[in-house]
Amino acid sequence: MGGAILAYLAKRITPMLSSIVSFLAISSAAVVFFTMTSSTDVVTVSVRNFTLQFGLNAYSWVFAAMVMGISALVSLYNIAYMSGKDRLGYFNLNFTLAIMSMMGIVFANDWISFFIFWEIMTWSSFLIVVYNGIDEGKIGTKYMIFSAVGGYAMLMAIVITNSQIDSFLIADLINAYPTFGHGMQAMIGILFLIGFSVKAAVMPLHVWAPRAYSDSPMSFTAIFSGLLSKMGIFGMAIMFISVFSKASIGDTFIYSQVIAWLGGVTAVMATFYAVIQKDAKRLLAYSSIAQLGYIVTGLAIGTKLSVMSALFLAVIHALYKGILFMAVGAVERQAGSTNLEQLGALIRKMPWTFFSALIAAIALAGIPPLGGFVGKWMLYESMITSTNPSHLFLVILIFLSSTAAFLYVYRLLFGLFLGQEEPEWDHVKEAPAPMVIPMVLMALTLILLGYAPGLLFEPIANGMEFLGFENVGWQMSSLSNIWGDTVDMQYVWGSVVTLFVLGAIFITIKNRKSTRYVTTKDIHTSGEIPEAHENLTYAVDFYKPFERAIEPVMRKTMDFYYNHFGNGLESLFGFVRKIYTGNGQTYAMYVVIFLVILLLIGEQIFK
């Protein structure tokens, strides 16, 4: 444990050199972490009258392992991705800082250190979001404002809890929570939730997310959307499982209902936005907000199965979102643009990237053989089997967003890799090795988790038992719900893969010699053959009909309301500052008026 902290503190000083150094620092921290997980001693740092405790428990092990594993791989990717760019030292400093702060959050046992690392994570990721220097749409300030709102809401909650139970330890809050008054519970609960849901991009507070994810460099977005948002989930899980479950009955109902529906609405709206996006990065940004919506719903429902599914989805989401962002980053680096409408047919030029993107897309859509399905299945089961009826209608919402997910998943793959081969993209080559290796590795883990999800269930189960659930049952590969129905992933996986291989072999072998490859230009176009330069790819407004169908829902975006509110405030402040007229005499007048008022009412206030 000490080693892990020592390692990531050490990397604080080395990042200035270059991404290779930051990769070594992160991977060394990862190695130390994985070897040292057994000891659970607590490291304390004392500040005046309270101590900051750092300790590792079963629950935080899950997140820590996820953060360490994926950030090590992504930093390997980072070396290649960032090799050409300028201001490398600056970028790597913040890159490593963000990862270090995530580790800090996961290790923190008390709220103050939790908050400290939370804020470090915020501003270091802020510095990366504005790294590209494009500031139109004020994405940097928007991100900063929202995370400040979240951070400060949490600070307020921490401060209030301390005034109630006079200690910062998370454990103390958990067992002292039932003793608070009704109003107090609600206030603390809501404040904490605001703080966490800003990071987890839940609907009303998600406005910053799409631009922030798509504007920052791709190697960081993999971390940003994959892991940073999970810190919000990390906090939310603590609140939901261990704190709210003990709260008075009235409260739990509100939290689980409201947040569940918020998650559902986020999922649907974000998916709709994702479908109509033109740029791959924005599409993925909205899609990761949608996935977060699932996870939040899972957590909010609160049954054993749904929390298990939420945590499982959280890890799987980090994996496939990492791959997809890295893939888009590779395409951006090789082809120079990520506009879905211009790109096409990179499959022949970037096969490995396509392979990992395909696996990630299948997992994202939740299609059976892979891990995505496992998470989704558990989520649906938990909702169908749950007692209160509103969850049943929520199932439809979630299902709508997951079927719509197929749309944007296909659009992404088709836009980038399939479709007509255009001469302008002929120069594109496969991404360099350090980019491809992490992607393929993550894809293989996804496939593995599809076959044996138990590998991930075990740590999650221990984590949940640590947080408050009793005897969370799990099997290596079969999923079951409280009604006793099971899906045996081994059979599913086995049958799908064998059939697929048989089908593929059959179709390739059958009169092998006579099939010949022909370019995408030579196609059945009833007579007139398209010349080379004629672009036949149908990618512009790919889902126009779908867009027209959901038109009424999409008219006003949340962004519109926030900008409106912002301008309103701005003009109010403009009016307020007029009070300083600049004329010395008016200032003297203010003094005299103030003096007279005070003299008159002095009696009452200073009795």
């Binding site: 096409g344 079927t403 197929f406 793959l413 081969e421 899906v487 799908v496 022909v518 995408t520 009909p545």
Partner: protein, 305 residues
């Protein structure tokens, strides 16, 4: 060792049965539609002839690896759905047919049905044919349309019977009667959803022959087209069997099976034969209109009975 053999044999038998029945249904449908447009129409075995001709063809043109993977996905999906659906109740004299149904459940099957079309879409994307891509985009948008009522009805059924596995559903139905009558609204929603699922007339925008030259498979020839057609027919049969199992408590023997599936199959076919073609957004709006309305009633009904 013995039961693996039994399993394999059963699987092979089911696949053959599905292919045969599916293809004959295809032929029948072509005949019925022709009859409604008062022309004679091809003989009922026309599908078998097309498929076998296509398999025999020598030259086949392909545009890259995905064109192989596409049909492979399709055949995998249809056969897996077939595997995980109890074709005949175990009481019947062909015990081999209930194969792996105890391993999967309804949500898994919903996803498998989607798996096929998504896989094929990827294959089609590789071909680069603009008509094909337009077809795919319409098909997928339509899919979102009909999935909702489809899921609505299944969820309400699951909630009513408190089980998510098909075998569980069938046991429930043996005790208290066919779900067709027990959950009437769910059945109505399902009927409306089927219209969309089988891509017949009102919702055949994806394969619209006149506009986009038979849509997605327009680039597939020879063995690829053959593979697509076989998986298409198996898939049709598998879906029908699934629906029969869910709403009419499956069939104990082959004859009952054929009768029930044919009855169910006639609903979209006949409705399709007489109706014009919806534009995609009209289709989606329709599918999210009445069917969803009935679905919600079904859900409420299932919660409170």
């Amino acid at each position: 060792m013995e039961d693996i053999l039994k399993l394999l044999g059963g699987a092979a038998a089911t696949m053959l049965l599905a292919f045969v029945v599916g293809a004959t249904y295809g032929g029948l449908v072509r005949k019925i539609i022709a009859r409604t447009q008062n022309r004679v129409g091809p003989p009922w075995y026309q599908n078998f002839v097309d498929i076998s001709k296509l398999y025999m063809k020598d030259t086949a043109v392909h545009h890259g690896v995905m064109q192989h993977i596409g049909p492979a996905f399709a055949i995998t999906a249809s056969v897996t759905v077939l595997m995980f659906v109890p074709v005949l109740r175990e009481g019947g004299w062909f015990p081999w047919f209930e194969n792996l149904n105890f391993k999967g459940d309804i949500i898994f099957l919903i996803y498998m049905m989607v798996f096929g079309s998504l896989g094929m879409a990827l294959g089609i994307g590789q071909t680069g044919n603009p008509n094909a891509s337009i077809g795919v985009s319409r098909g997928l948008s339509m899919m979102v349309g009909y999935e909702i009522p489809f899921v609505l009805s299944l969820v309400s059924v699951m909630v009513q019977t408190h089980t998510t596995s098909i075998t569980g559903l069938m046991e429930w139905q043996t005790q208290n009667g066919w779900l067709m009558f027990e959950a009437p609204f769910a059945f109505i929603t399902m009927l409306l959803a089927i219209l969309g699922m089988f891509h017949y007339a009102p919702f055949d925008i994806a394969h619209a022959p006149s506009e986009i030259a038979s849509g997605p498979p327009s680039e597939f020839g020879g063995k690829y087209l053959a593979m697509m057609m076989t998986s298409g027919s198996i898939f049709a049969f598998a879906k029908l069997v699934f629906l029969v199992d869910v709403f009419m408590n499956g069939a104990s023997n082959l004859v009952m099976l054929v009768v029930k599936t044919l009855l169910l199959y006639m609903v979209p076919v006949l409705y399709g034969a007489v109706s014009p073609r919806y534009r995609t957004e009209q289709a989606i709006r329709y599918l999210w209109g009445w069917p969803v309305f009935f679905g919600i009633i079904a859900l409420i009904y299932s919660i409170y009975i």
